[in-house]
């Protein structure tokens, strides 16, 4: 193990050590709610943030552990986003679990381990590491979904996620096996060359198909999205927020890596498949979200729609031909757009689920649209932030969500203009039309908040004071949503749209 190998472990060690520490400290005989435990979890995520800060910017990528783990910009950005999401989830959970009477140390352990799995997914360039990261993440999330095991919906969510998720892992594994048969290697980078080999091509095409199915399942893209609404609705609210964002970050980073190999040879026709998947996913997510009566369930369906928008960027991902004839995706506008979109989605979504976790009452009630009626006047700040989060998710200018959507649709237009093929531009137009549909259900939240009279039993709603952790997450997400939306970095803190864009560019510079 060289020093470089150790360096690549830096982002991962934080959550790992924190989880072990919590298991040891939390396992004592007198098991009450221990305020030290969430702090330990936060320290673990803090370690990752500091580690990423120390390693950034990288001079070059390093394949550590004989290719088992890759230390590069993309992996670091994934670690950064995941640990932000994980820290937010931890902070929200402190108040949430206390109110639900199930404040157990294992919760934080599992959040840390699932974050660890996501980071491994983001840093892996071979199928084995990817699968193990995926399994670490998924196993922890299956349990977290059912953590409120006295509530039927939580258990239902867990079982549904476990059964369908294991099936998806099986698909993934089968695809992996076929690819190994076709290429004789676990490395992503051997995929491109082997695709030209007529002998192994059938195996690779089928293998990629299975892998794609596994990925699409995890990000909740249609037609593999059926599990998602029920799972998201039944899971503890902070976990739903973490699942919607963290899993997407990890899975999309891995897909970017895989596609940058597959797209080396254009004849595979994967773009056409993804084109239709993006379109169907957007339509299914948006249309189904229109019909929801619960805000949490609406956000679950809208997460499907967001997966669709992100898939657009996967379809149009283009690279420049490098010196050695290989296509270099490090300058790809679409890949950068994906990372920015994920950042914007992370802050807005964690914030929105933060507000929901505060409003939620026993048994998962209190999250229907009607329950928000008039809340904007009663809790002025809560109403304001929830509106901003909804507007950001809808993609209204001035919020981070707008910049993300602008980049995604812009990259599609950019890839399509000047070519004879109009399908990319068409996809961008369809995406914009879809986000108009999305506007309807996001604005319904605002209408409930400000245009409806206060419900009668409103006095009993929620705890009188927002807990410290929840408050912190909501305020931080609020600031982030606006800051990454308003372009100019007017305080010069290295924080606005431009610095974030530079960071995403730096992340992709070491892709291959």
């Amino acid at each position: 193990m060289t020093w470089e190998d150790t360096k690549s472990l830096m982002p991962l060690l934080g959550p790992f050590l924190a989880a072990l520490a919590i298991l040891v400290v939390g396992g004592r005989k007198e098991r009450g709610p221990n305020p030290l435990l969430p702090l330990l979890a936060l320290a673990g995520f803090g370690w990752t943030l500091v580690g990423v800060g120390c390693l950034w910017p990288l001079e070059g990528a390093h394949d550590a552990f004989a290719g088992g783990l890759r230390l590069d910009g993309l992996g670091l950005v994934v670690a950064l986003l995941v640990s932000l999401g994980g820290a937010a989830c931890t902070l929200l959970s402190v108040d949430y679990l206390k109110r639900r009477g199930r404040n157990l140390p294992e919760f934080y352990v599992l959040v840390l381990f699932s974050a660890l799995g996501m980071m491994v997914m983001g840093m892996s360039t071979n199928w084995l590491s990817l699968l193990l990261g995926l399994e670490t993440m998924s196993l922890a999330l299956y349990v977290l979904c059912g953590f409120l095991r006295d509530e039927t919906r939580s258990v239902e969510s867990s079982i549904k996620y476990f059964l369908t998720g294991s099936f998806a892992s099986g698909l993934f594994l089968f695809g992996m096996g076929l690819l190994y048969g076709g290429t004789g290697s676990f490395e992503f980078r051997d995929l491109g060359g082997a695709m030209l080999d007529a002998q192994s091509q059938p195996l690779i095409v089928v293998g990629v198909g299975f892998l794609l199915a596994g990925f699409l399942f995890k990000i909740g893209a249609a037609p593999l999205h059926m599990w998602l609404p029920d799972v998201y609705e039944g899971a503890p609210t902070p976990i739903t927020g973490f699942m919607a964002t963290g899993v997407k970050v990890a899975a999309f980073a891995a897909v970017i890596r895989v596609l940058s190999e597959i797209y080396q040879h254009e004849h595979v026709g994967l773009r056409d498949v993804l084109w239709w998947i993006a379109l169907i996913t957007m339509i299914v997510g948006n249309v189904a979200a229109l019909a929801q009566t619960s805000v949490k369930r609406m956000l679950a369906y809208s997460s499907i729609a967001h997966a669709g928008y992100l898939t657009i960027a996967l379809v149009v991902m283009r690279g420049a031909v490098g010196e050695n004839g290989a296509i270099d995706f490090s300058g790809s506008l679409a890949a950068r757009a994906i990372l920015y979109y994920l950042l914007a989605y992370l802050v807005a979504n964690m914030g929105a689920f933060g507000v929901l976790s505060y409003l939620e009452k026993q048994g998962g009630k209190g999250l229907a649209y009607e329950d928000l009626a008039g809340l904007g006047f009663k809790h002025r700040f809560l109403g304001l932030v929830l509106s901003v989060f909804a507007l950001s998710l809808a993609g209204i200018p001035g919020t981070a969500g707008f910049v993300g959507k602008f980049l995604v649709f812009g990259s599609a237009v950019d890839a399509g203009v000047g070519t004879a093929d109009s399908s990319f531009v068409l996809l961008a137009v369809l995406g914009i039309l879809n986000s108009l549909v999305g506007l309807y259900y996001y604005l319904r939240v605002l209408i409930q908040l400000y245009a409806k009279p206060l419900a009668e039993d409103a006095s009993t709603r929620g705890a009188p004071l927002v807990g410290m952790g929840t408050g912190l997450v909501i305020v931080a997400s609020f600031i982030g949503t606006l800051w990454w939306g308003f372009g100019a970095d007017f305080l010069n803190l290295g924080f606005g749209v431009e610095p974030a864009m530079r960071m995403m560019q730096g992340a992709l510079a070491t892709l291959r």
Partner: protein, 165 residues
Amino acid sequence: MERLIFYVLATVAVAGALGTVSFKNPLSCALSLVVTFVALSGLYFQNDAPFVGVLQLLVYAGAIMVLVIFVIMLLNLPDVQLEQERVSRQGIPLALFLLGPLGVLVISRLISIELGEKPEVNASFGSAASVGELLFEKYLFQFEIISVVLLVAIVGAVVLAKKRL
């Protein structure tokens, strides 16, 4: 002769796998899984990987099967319950429609492989030393991450199943 052994072992393995998914009694399923494991182990021996073959016998056919059978016996499922849950046959045409092309593709590829003589391997192939080297050198990181996966599974099982935490 060698090919004959291969076909016998392969057929037994597939038969065992079919039995695993088609028997009604969970214990029969588990026992037919043992058949598959043993046949696979034979295949490893045949392919000059005696250490992997022994591991297959010890770990899968031995330790893991004991666990599986333990769980089945502890759960003590009544037969009636399983009898009622018949697999619906409506899904079969759809499954054939979806998986048929895939099967044709894979099988046609497999048939096209030239069956030649088994390539010579060096003496250390499949030995304990070379397996250990792979585990602790090339796949060290993956090896360690698997222990995290197992830890997550243990913590998760306790959280979900233990009565009083």
